[in-house]
Amino acid sequence: MDSYQELIFKLKKYWSDRDCIIQEPYDLEVGAGTMCPETFLRVLGPKPYRVAYVQPSRRPADGRYGENPNRLYKHMQLQVLLKPSPNDVIEQYLGSLGAIGIDLRKHDIKFEEDNWESPTLGAWGVGWQVMLDGLEITQFTYFQQCGGIDLDLVPAELTYGLERLAAFLQVKDSIYDVEWGGGATYRDVRFNDELQFSVYNFEMADVPTLWKLFELHEGEAARLLKLYDPKSADKARFPLLPAYEHVLKCSHLFNTLDSRGAISVTERVAVIARVRKVAVGVAGAWMDQQSTGVEPPKAEAEAVR
């Protein structure tokens, strides 16, 4: 039986064999793999792209102090983005399940309608939750819009819930009993994380401090966006990626404030609109910046030739 890490290796290998770049996780807090620039920004514009990466995804409100066998503050997604979506995308996806040892002739697979929408990112798509013997193992989305922009090429986004999949394959009732690798369990590796962040998010995070941070990051993103000049000859070097990191910070702070119970439902809509505004701003500027056609410099050897 494969360990958790073996499962990840196999999925990465599978998608690597299908011309995906294997990226490493983004090094900021995000709520889902979708929010990483590798998805959020790459889906924009007419350039094809294929990428897969594991993304630890933080959802403060889902924390359960390490006590709930199925819920985590930080779970891991394997995010696969295929832009444009190939015609046989579902067959390729099903093939990946075969690659991790699921014999589909012995199981029940259903594609149940589940459309995805992220108001904070101005993004939505249609798709399914993929059910394996009654367990949701993957979210499958055809992106339609991102950052408020209709997409030129429709990407397919496959998001595997890695802990669930591993628990399923290892026949474990608790995620914490999943064998991670090297003789360690998921509990050995992650329990403290879950416990301490639950305590922080639910009990100890200082609300005024979080609001202050939120405003600082929002302000910095907005400041940069104001400075972006589409007519500038130098615009290719303008720091939109750093601006986007401040947007991500806002999004995570919003989630933390939310789990702390600091955002009323009324405020909620307004705060989401604030994050959305900077997210959409970055997406629009990014589209403009990319349309200049400036390519990254070629590797030296090639440039010499």
């Binding site: 979506s85 067959e91 199981h107 259903k110 309608e113 013997d133």
Partner: protein, 648 residues
């Protein structure tokens, strides 16, 4: 010669609930495109929408079209030019109505051409509540990507291209049970699919599921069955079990988890209580190693564990202690929090003379919105509050009222089971309606985000079926738009739900609708009296009276009938009959009263036969109009008979 036709639109999995309406739309579009029914029938699985027609004509009939040319006296050059344009000699032209004409033969198009031209549009126009694009920004839109198209007319492919796909004769089998590429002919189509793990007929899939669950005592669930029929290409039912320990949780919670979250049928023990079993329906033919059963059992165990955790955590705080928390739950930005809504509901319940139980239920009704269980299973709002109130020792009147206060959730649903529940439900709906209308949130067309139609409909149902004689219009707070909106629902309820004739409903409502129980009684009376022989002719006479009064621009002006001015004979007789009937009606229930009124018919007929309303003497004319007006006014309190549609 007639040919059979087959169209299969192969797609990725279509949401189950969208399939039946899409098939209807597809069929209608097809019939329109080919100009006839031709025994067209439709069927579907999640991955294919199929249309078959039994006998399409191979080609349309030829048509002769007359093209009009220049006048007969036009210059020769013009005539020659017209003939040349039609490709004939001037001598071949005929003359008609002073013009040269050419009878042009338009050969009928072949069905193959018609279909090849029309099908791409037929497919893309098929209506879905939501569509997507998948082949680039300006590409075609459909519910999910189209991956193959089979289009066969007789033995041949109807050639066309749509969304980058060429029509052909190759279908696809079940993802696990069949081949990805399955060539078919019209005759072999369904059997080839069957060989490849696909049961095309929705009826056959339904029958298969029903067969397989027949031996188990499941809780009937037609909506779930519909879902499963269109969620599978090859359904197979399996049974699983769960730990009986979970039966300590409320049945409502267990059933919701199984039904809404896992799409399982619940199973009943012989005594009608819940059994620790479930039935899942797979989209495959078998579970040879029992892995599917085990997998489903594990998922259910995890779900039940969650529910138990929430159930126990929530119990640590009483419902009553949660009231202040409602200040943090927004009902609507401009209408405030649920705490404010609760306060308004309590005031309304008091206004409606609710007893102590009703007031307590109103106070606690929304508290479950702060519980973990409702956050997880939102569809259990109200029910969870009721269950907690019960577990926390509130009396039956109270907990049942909380439990039921969202009822009726549809027109098929029952109203709350006790009076307190009826009042709390009314107060909730009334508050929502008044609030939303006061800030301009008025439903338009299909947009009704606050489900105000359902609220109004539920209110009407509770008032009538709960026999609550409450002044509806006063409750609506004098808002004209809201009154109109609710009147519409009242009309819908009596007409479409209760099946009264539309003119009877109009007649009764025109005479007032402040008390809906009274409206129902009047309707029942009208319905009973309507078939009697005097009724409709009398209704026609009332209409005549109304027209006469309208023409004379007579509105009563408070005058009394002067008996001395009445002409002996039909006029006096009508008057005395009217007085008798009036006395009788005053003491009678609606039905005999209507019968009494109907008995006036011969006198009214005779009056119109023999008496000239428009008498030359102004005083007499005035008196006659007063008589008719009084008659109409007196007898229109049950219903406005002039609204009754008659054949006379």
């Amino acid at each position: 010669m007639n040919l059979p036709f087959l169209l299969e639109i192969g797609t990725e999995e279509i949401p189950d609930w969208m399939i039946p309406p899409a098939l209807e739309s597809l069929q209608a579009l097809f019939v329109e495109a080919v100009g006839g029914q031709y025994d067209a029938s439709v069927d579907a699985t999640p991955r294919r929408l199929v249309l078959r027609a039994a006998n399409l004509p191979e080609r349309q009939a030829d048509e002769v079209k007359r093209v009009a040319g220049p006048a007969v006296n036009a210059p020769e050059k013009a005539v020659a030019g017209f003939a040349r344009k039609q490709g004939v000699a001037p001598a071949d032209l005929q003359q008609a109505d002073g013009h040269y004409v050419f009878s042009k033969l338009i050969p009928g198009r072949t069905m193959r051409d018609i279909l090849a031209g029309a099908l791409p549009e037929v497919i893309l126009k098929t209506s879905f509540p939501k569509t997507m694009y998948w082949a680039g920004k300006n590409g075609p839109r459909f519910i999910r990507p189209v991956r193959w198209i089979v289009a066969l007319l007789g033995g041949e492919v109807v050639p066309f291209e749509m969304a980058g796909i060429e029509s052909g004769n190759a279908s696809a089998g079940h993802r696990q049970l069949g081949a990805p590429h399955v060539p078919v002919t019209i005759d072999t189509y369904e059997s080839k699919l069957r060989d490849n793990g696909v049961i095309l007929s929705a009826a056959a899939r339904r029958a298969k599921i029903e067969d397989e669950i027949r031996a188990v005592r499941i809780k009937p669930d037609p909506a779930l069955l519909d879902t499963l029929v269109y969620l599978t290409e090859y359904p197979t039912a399996i049974q699983g079990r769960f730990d009986p320990e979970f039966l300590k949780l409320p049945e409502e919670v267990l059933v919701t988890v199984m039904r809404h979250h896992q799409r399982y049928f619940s199973v009943e023990a012989p005594d009608g209580t819940l059994a620790p079993k479930f039935v899942a329906v797979m989209n495959t033919s078998a579970d040879p190693d029992g892995l599917v059963r085990l997998g489903n059992e594990r998922v259910l165990r995890a779900r039940f564990n969650d529910a138990r955790f929430f159930w126990e955590t929530d119990q640590k705080r009483k419902l009553a202690d949660r009231v202040p928390d409602l200040a943090h739950v927004t009902f609507q930005a401009k209408l405030g929090s649920y705490l404010e809504k609760t306060e308004r509901m309590v005031a309304l319940v008091k206004e409606l003379h609710g007893d102590h139980a009703a007031i307590r239920a109103a106070q606690l009704s929304k508290c479950d919105l702060t519980t973990e269980l409702v956050k997880e299973f939102t569809e259990l709002q109200g029910i969870v509050g009721g269950l907690y109130a019960c577990a926390q020792g509130d009396p039956k009147e109270v907990w049942q009222a909380i439990y039921d206060h969202y009822k009726p959730v549809s027109m098929d649903d029952s109203i709350p089971r006790n009076p307190a529940g009826e009042l709390v439900s009314l107060a909730d709906k009334l508050d929502t309606l008044r609030g939303c209308f006061s800030i301009g949130l008025i439903p338009t067309g299909s947009r009704d985000p606050f489900a105000l139609r359902r609220a109004a409909q539920g209110m009407v149902k509770i008032l009538v079926e709960g026999e609550l004689r409450l002044p509806v219009r006063k409750l609506l707070g004098g808002d004209n738009k809201l009154e109109e909106f609710v009147l519409d629902r009242v009309r819908y309820y009596f007409k479409d739900i209760r099946g009264f004739k539309y003119d009877e409903v109009n007649a009764v409502l025109t005479s007032g609708w402040d008390d809906l129980v009274d409206v129902e009684e009047r309707l029942i009376a009208i319905q009973a009296v309507r078939p009697t022989e005097d009724f409709e002719p009398l209704a026609a006479s009332f209409k005549r009276i109304q027209n006469i009064l309208k023409q004379a621009q007579f509105s009563g002006d408070g005058g009394q009938i002067d008996a001395a001015l009445l002409e002996p004979g039909p006029e006096s007789e009508l008057y005395s009959a009217f007085q008798n009937v009036r006395r009788a009606v005053a003491e009678q229930a609606y039905r005999p009263a209507l019968e009494s009124i109907a008995s006036l018919r011969p006198k009214v007929d005779l009056f119109f036969d023999k008496v000239l309303v428009n008498a030359p003497d102004a005083k007499i004319r005035q008196n006659r109009l007063t008589l008719l007006h009084t008659l109409l006014a007196e007898f229109s309190t049950i219903a406005d008979f002039s609204e009754i549609v008659t054949n006379t």
